[in-house]
Amino acid sequence: MLIPREGITRSNNPVDRLAAALEAGRSILIFPEGTRREDGSVGEFRAGLHHLAKRFPAIPLVPVYLENLSRILPKGSFLPVPLIAQAHFREPIRFDETEPKSTFLTRAREALIHQK
């Protein structure tokens, strides 16, 4: 699912397209940072994750930490280096309606970074 970076209006809101996929019973994989950082650390999560979680509070969110990707192909480089990458699957988290948006996004980010 390609998401336009510019010119987003109410009529072509990408969250609606993701929601449609979820309603059709499919799983979706999202990159909540929306970009990569130069130093390879995990950036702040964008609000889209919160919008989506709020619309589907029953769906578990599984954080997946992709290790070493920034060393394999750092931002700004065209040449990959064949290092070993690993995907770490963390404990799923769920939406909590009492929680403000920023707290939820921080909690989601923490769940991704830290192994329980």
């Binding site: 130069e38 130093d39 390879g40 070493n68 920034s70 060393r71 750092p74 480089s77 040449l79 990959p80 280096v81 064949p82 290092l83 070993i84």
Partner: protein, 328 residues
């Protein structure tokens, strides 16, 4: 096919057959939980050994080019494990790309065209000069010496040292022309046998740790028993080498000791990085580097000792066709 090589393959097949039978019996007999885990690991190791020995023997039969390509791939995979675990900086990216896709292929190309003169200095001299040159271009000074040293070390251990194994095929020796694949086989078999025998002796009667801080599994009983057994087996295969029995014994002793220290050195690096294995590619063994650690340090030693005492002198000049190309 060389009849002596057939016998060597037979010896390996026989040893693996015994290991498989012993493993199957142990799996039935052993009941304790700890024992079961050890036997399961033993059997996983034996299964991996069958595959590794099969690939190795097949490649040897296919000749010089295939053997060079096999060890080139192993170097590449070992380098990958080494660099993955040894943290490098963003500024090293360009140097790493060079190391994987330019330096390593060129080095193995030199093995392939048998240009000993450039082969022996390409990484110690040219890579040594080029790596800091490339890195300094990035303008980043943080961790400069640490990074360039790590990468140079990685290339020396994983690429330069390992490449001496296929280079054994090019070593000219009196009265041994065209039989160098047996020399290569003798070397690899001795190193790996030494690892296996040290494991077997260590598991059965190991008590006193050699260096608990560096490698908790290495014991004096395992090391001495393993090396003694290996030297005996390897010396008995002297007829397949350019050595007489006592020379073969001495050579295998040197190989075993270098292999032992090689394993210890790479173990020390692993402990420093806080990991148990270099990777998880080979079931029961860990990563490629876990299987190759003892080969790395023994290979250049064996190559040069053999060349020095039994060789007819290696011509360091470029192959004729390259000289023709350059001097036209």
């Amino acid at each position: 096919m060389d009849p002596e090589l057939k016998i060597l393959f037979g010896v390996i097949g026989g040893i693996l057959l015994v290991a498989s039978i012993v493993g199957a019996v142990l799996a039935k007999v052993v009941k304790s939980d700890g024992g079961r885990a050890t036997v399961a690991n033993l059997n996983a190791r034996t299964r991996s050994w069958w595959i590794m020995a099969g690939i190795f023997c097949a490649t040897i039969l296919m000749g010089h080019i295939f053997t060079t390509v096999l060890f080139g791939c192993l170097s590449f995979l070992a380098l990958r494990e080494f660099i993955t675990l040894n943290q490098t900086e963003r500024a090293d990216h360009g140097v790493l790309f060079w190391s994987f896709f330019i330096i390593t292929p060129i080095h193995y190309l030199l093995v392939g065209i048998q240009w000993y003169g450039l082969f022996s200095i390409f990484i110690p001299v040219y890579a040594f000069v080029l790596i800091p040159f490339r890195r300094v271009l990035t303008g980043e000074t943080k961790g400069f010496l640490a990074s360039t040293s790590k990468i140079q070390w990685a290339l020396m251990v994983c690429v330069y040292a390992v490449s001496h194994i296929p280079m054994l095929l090019t070593l000219p020796m009196h009265g041994f022309e065209g039989q160098n694949s047996k020399l290569l086989f003798f070397f690899v078999m001795t190193v790996q046998m030494s690892d296996v025998m040290q494991y077997v002796w260590g598991k059965t009667c190991g008590k006193h740790k050699v260096s608990p801080n560096v490698s908790p599994s290495k014991t004096w009983e395992g090391t001495i028993g393993g090396i003694a057994t290996t030297v005996a087996i390897s010396a008995s295969l002297w007829w397949a080498t350019p050595f007489n029995p006592w020379q073969a014994a001495l050579m295998s002793l040197v190989i075993c000791i270098a292999g032992f220290f090689g394993g210890l050195v790479l173990s020390a690096i692993k402990r420093d990085l806080g990991v148990k294995d270099w990777g998880s590619s080979i079931a029961g063994h860990g990563g490629f580097l876990d299987r190759m650690d003892s080969l790395c340090f023994a290979a250049p030693l064996f190559f040069h000792l053999t060349g020095f005492y039994f060789g007819t002198g290696i011509d360091p000049a470029a192959p004729g066709w390259i000289l023709n190309l350059l001097c036209k």
